[in-house]
Amino acid sequence: MTAAGVPLSWYLILSAVLFALGVAGFLFRRNIITMFMSIELMLNAVNLSFVAFSYHLNQVDGNILAFFVMVVAAAEAAVGLAIILTVFKNRATLQIDEVESMKN
């Protein structure tokens, strides 16, 4: 590693680590909102990957795709939070394990 630059693979590794953190959060947290935030973390990690490849291939297309991901994430966040609000109003709980009427 020189002051001149950083290998591309390090960006990708960072992306993988952030993604893994997002998955971990999704699997092991019980609060719905926290799980949702983990999803956003995953999306960000993927965005980083896109931008890194865009640099690698010297094209703008990766940036465009990252842009679209962002837009979709925004829409998804809006709807998802609305759903969480509804669930809270009906079940009065934010614990994912207590939303289990479909179990067995």
Partner: protein
Amino acid sequence: MDGILFLIFAAAAVLCGLNVVMQRQPIASALSLIGVMGSLAALYLLLGAQFIAAAQVIVYAGAIMVLFVIVIMLLNAGAEKRTGVSLMARYLGLPALAGLLGALSYVIFRAFADSGVVRFGRFSAGAARDVGQALFTKYLLPFEITSLLVLIAIAGAVVLAYKEFER
């Protein structure tokens, strides 16, 4: 210079990410997430994606995370309780996670071990002009459709929330 900047922001991102996952209080997780996004914006700048970096800060950190914080405040989400644990998640999830990370790393090293280095300033097509040009010519159709998607999302959110507060 690039290297040091990369290390700083990468470390920040990872630490904030860990915080997101490990904090008890949701509000702390949200704030950590904002930190992650900020670090990522800096990394985008290092990669030459100016437009995306700005959009990240404005849209993601400025709008979406604010939405999260509002909802957390609205629901008065407190600390997470230690209720029933999913055995499936614990015994399947950790190995899956480790496997995921390992597989990804392996693939990355195999494929990109010898690709070039990232230098600030070498990529110039990330400016607003280039992005705009591509967006309105080559990617026009997905652009219009995503705007439609956003419209639908707004409508859906309003419908879901509207019923709530009618009571």
